[in-house]
Chain length 333, copies 2
């Protein structure tokens, strides 16, 4: 049995999802010969440490009841620096100004020789190459499938399943909130403002929706995808971004009557990055609706290959983290 | 450099595609530390053998000019039995009556301790479990991504990228010819017969289209997928199959006006296998048109994940064979 000691740094929706998924898949992991021990969990109030392995059920229960798992006054970065373990699961809230605490956590992990799996877009949308180079120099693995579209496993698809193919370009719907609003605008022939309000009521859009509806979230994901697949060194500020706030239901209906749906498409082609409203033919693999995310890669051998999945959700995102964790444990690329 | 000696048994469209792809990707394979040598090629007229590695360009040229590569009177199975090599690429024409020469080739390969990669559906749609058990007993790998939908890499997606997920059900459009005919029937409001004729003119449907339009091809692919993912032991005769010949453009148009497209959907759910016309909501990941193939898996963690790609094509199918070859060389699962 291979013992792997991990920390979960950031215990919000995604971090708790990771704990739930690890409990749910314990038999599966044991069958694979993996003994995964969570030796520390950190949230914004402090940390909980148990070198023998934390009882995840109790930790989740305590988080629900008290709002924190903290029993010691240690920050995430202190856990990373002081407690011996193998893999850091970095799930703190994203910060796209300067990378914030997530960036600090990732760099501290590499300094201490710990592998990193993250769902935290900010640091990668700002300092991708620096992080990858630092990971490589320290001999650590750095996996981030969960940063791009939750349970739409595009990065691992390209790096694993499509091995041998040259990737020529990538297009995708990388923001579920925008996809929901646009899908509903067409269905109801209703205005952007009306459908934004509905999305907010249903918990699909945030109170301040700027990050989603102006295309910034999609730009961050596009940058991570482009940097990872094309070995670029771009930041989300390099993306020519237009959001969805100016789209009218009248223009969408006109397009639909000609056989097109209006989607917010992120694209990387010939080194150029863009996010903006585009017309997609009905029946095209990118024409999916609801809150779905989708990415289509043009390859030299396989032609176009498209993958669709849920872009968000606690368990869905944790599923991407689990697959990265299994890959690290199995020493896959 | 790891030397891997392979044979290509069956040198029609797919076999030639494999040769082209191996030439095109030689630098890539060398960079991966792989020295892939094709030591024999067989077609229906005989074989061509060169233990030092066949010049693939000349072989392709000779095939084009003379219709065969044969310079010795040896069949594929004789090559497999007599010539020392590591991996057999089995790309003979499919036979769904008794598995034909493909089945014989695969069994001979395992008997001789050679790994098998195939695009040949027949043997797997008839004798899946027997083949897999024989491969396992002989310590050989058996890879068949190319049998299910050419360049729609659903099997490797499930086994690799979605590792850790339980697969609950699978649905898909597994036949590009039917998808083309149905897509065109709706676009043109034309009859099945008219659009079949168009598909035949364009080389998308065969002169005798029975195998495609009656759902037999889709049933074969569904069976391979179901056996592989759910460890079943079914044959294509276990599939409750209905084809597309009775569908009218009037019924399709009525459905479309209600927001649905009519697709030939293969499904495995609770151990039951079916292929038949189904209504799919516009904007659903399965609503893709043209000749595309698509498969959607319902998972316990990631939710629904859908992959779309070209279901046929010489280079596209060879791309799936290449990814299986790389996996075997790297000793991946």
């Amino acid at each position: 049995m291979k013992q792997v000691r991990i920390s979960i740094i950031g215990f919000g929706s995604v971090g708790q999802g990771v704990a739930e998924v690890l409990m749910k898949k314990q038999d599966y992991l044991t069958k694979m010969g993996l003994d995964i021990k969570v030796i520390a969990i950190s949230d914004s109030k402090g940390s909980f440490i148990n070198q023998n392995g934390i009882d995840l059920n109790s930790a989740l229960e305590q988080k629900r009841q008290k709002g924190t798992v903290a029993n010691v006054q240690k920050t995430g970065v202190e856990i990373i620096n002081e407690i011996e373990h193998d893999v850091v699961i970095e799930t703190t809230p994203t910060n796209i100004e300067d990378g914030g605490v997530g960036l600090e956590n990732m760099l501290a992990s590499f300094e201490n020789g710990r592998h990193v799996i993250t769902s935290n877009k900010g640091p990668l949308a700002l300092k991708y190459k620096y992080l990858v180079d630092t990971a490589n120099l320290s001999g650590c693995k750095f996996k981030f499938e969960a940063t791009v579209g939750g349970a739409m496993p595009i990065i691992n698809l390209i790096k694993g399943v499509l091995a041998g193919n040259d990737i020529l370009s990538i297009q995708g719907i990388l923001n579920g909130t925008c996809n929901y609003i646009l899908t509903r605008m067409l269905e109801e022939e209703a205005s952007y403002e009306q459908m934004l309000a509905e999305a907010q009521e249903r918990g699909i859009a945030e109170t301040d929706p700027t990050y989603d509806v102006e295309g910034i979230d999609a730009a961050c994901k596009l940058v991570i995808l482009a940097n990872s697949v094309f070995d670029m060194d771009s930041t989300y500020k390099d993306v020519d971004s237009v959001g969805i706030t100016k789209i009218t239901p009248e223009s969408m209906l006109l397009a639909y009557n000609d056989g097109y749906v209006t989607k917010l498409i992120g694209e990387v082609r010939n080194g150029k990055l863009s996010v903006g409203p585009r017309l997609v033919p009905v029946g095209h693999p990118l024409s999916v609706g609801d809150t779905l995310n989708v990415a289509s890669v043009q390859t030299d051998l396989a032609g176009p290959v498209t993958i669709t999945g849920r872009g968000a959700g606690s368990i869905e995102t944790a599923s991407a983290i689990l697959s990265d964790l299994i890959a690290i444990c199995n020493n896959d690329n």
